[in-house]
Amino acid sequence: MDSLADIQLPNTGQLAIPLYIIGILIEFGLVCLGKAKGQYERRDAMTSLLMGVGNVATGIIYAVVLIAMMQWAYSYRIFDPGITWWSAVLCFVLDDFRRYVYHAGLHRIRWWWADHVNHHSSQHFNFTTALRQPWTTIFTGSFLLYLPLAWLGFHPLLILFVGGINLTYQFFVHTETVGKLWKPIEFVLNTPSHHRVHHSNNPRYLDANYAAVLIIWDRIFGTFVEEREEDVPKYGLVQNIGTFNLFFVAFHEWISIFKDVAKPGLTLRERLMYMFAAPGWSHDGSRKTSWDLKAQYVRKHPDQSGMPGLPDLVAKNDGSAGRVQPAE
């Protein structure tokens, strides 16, 4: 195999940093001058940016593990497409699908949610929110999801290269300054409108639009919800955190998991469920999952039953309410 030193591909992640700074300054300027929609709050923005710095620092360890594992998997590759324009495009598409699958898991498995929750913990939605990234990704084991790409024969550096482009694109969808784009773009690509839905805690918008670049994955797998004018996105968590302290922003959900798991009187299954079931699961029903919140919303607004993002609570002939149960 070519050694990493033999292959020259731009470090797209690093090269994007000046873009991020310029983007934030432009967005902030437009918002301040009243030329565009959006809001900035100093402590929120600085928390987001410092979480990004921490992510870069902790990402070094993650990158070492990731590259080592990808090199190992690549040595057993099935195909050898090399590094060409078409292998780059194919790798990009497959990596984007990988990101979709991983992102869905980040929202539906509490152990992974603990790593991802801080990205959603801002009650604002601007370019700084894009940089509010986790410090604990190494504990999710997500590097394993890269292995199939390497086994298929995509060079590790190519995977990282397209990944950098993917992440750079995602930065620019974290904004309120842009409304809906041209319909063909809205149909194929993740856009600020689609991503506003993803970051909001409105019941209909929960657990929707997991796309990184291509929104078509959400359309194919039924997780797409359109932004609606009458349901303005409200950003943040279902229960927003009450601190700007970086340590608690980064680790609060991990601490909560361990506190729940350590509760006395639980069965082994219940302890495992507190780690791996959907966020909001509780052994005594004292908390609410996204599904519970959606069902609660439909009970209060029955005309919304079955609308995108909301369950279809249909009355049966015997007067009882039917329910489409989510898979556990």
Binding site: I17, I21, L25, D44, V56, S256
Partner: protein
């Protein structure tokens, strides 16, 4: 990219953005204009609640937090967080400690990791003691307005 240049860019960017945010026009802080706003925030976060079930609202002296007594169910809590609010329903089990301080202050520690300890100053000791009752940290009648 040269690592030193990268560090300079990141640190320089952070300082520049922080300075701009400090000196630019920013949205108002998370201060409650009225008891009604506190109730609105609570009912917005907990749509199953009804504003007509509110029996009493106690605002802190700086109007950055409010405790909402309901005719039934746990008390509501609304607290300024930057220019936004954090809202909770608080049961006695959610309170690790509620300690009166000075004449009319209350220091509260929550069992929830994402809610850090807070100190609240009320307009008088009667309001502070009422909140203690709401939080389940003391017994006593809740006087409605």
């Amino acid at each position: 990219m040269n690592p030193i240049l990268l560090v300079v860019l990141i640190v320089g960017g952070l300082i520049l953005i922080d300075l701009l945010l400090r000196f630019a026009r920013t949205p108002p802080s998370g201060q409650l204009e009225s008891e009604t706003q506190a109730v609105d925030q609570l009912c917005r976060e907990y749509p199953e609640l009804d504003a007509s079930d509110v029996s009493r609202v106690v605002l802190t002296a700086d109007r950055r937090a409010a405790f909402v007594a309901m005719t039934s169910g746990p008390a509501g809590f609304v607290s300024g967080m930057g220019d936004r609010f954090v809202v909770r329903q608080l049961r006695p089990a959610d309170i690790r400690e509620a300690v009166p301080e000075a004449e009319s202050a209350l220091r509260v520690r929550f069992n929830e990791v994402a809610l850090r300890p807070m100190r609240f100053e009320f307009s008088d000791s009667a309001e502070r003691d009422l909140v203690l009752v709401l939080l389940g940290a003391a017994r006593g009648p809740i006087q409605t307005t």
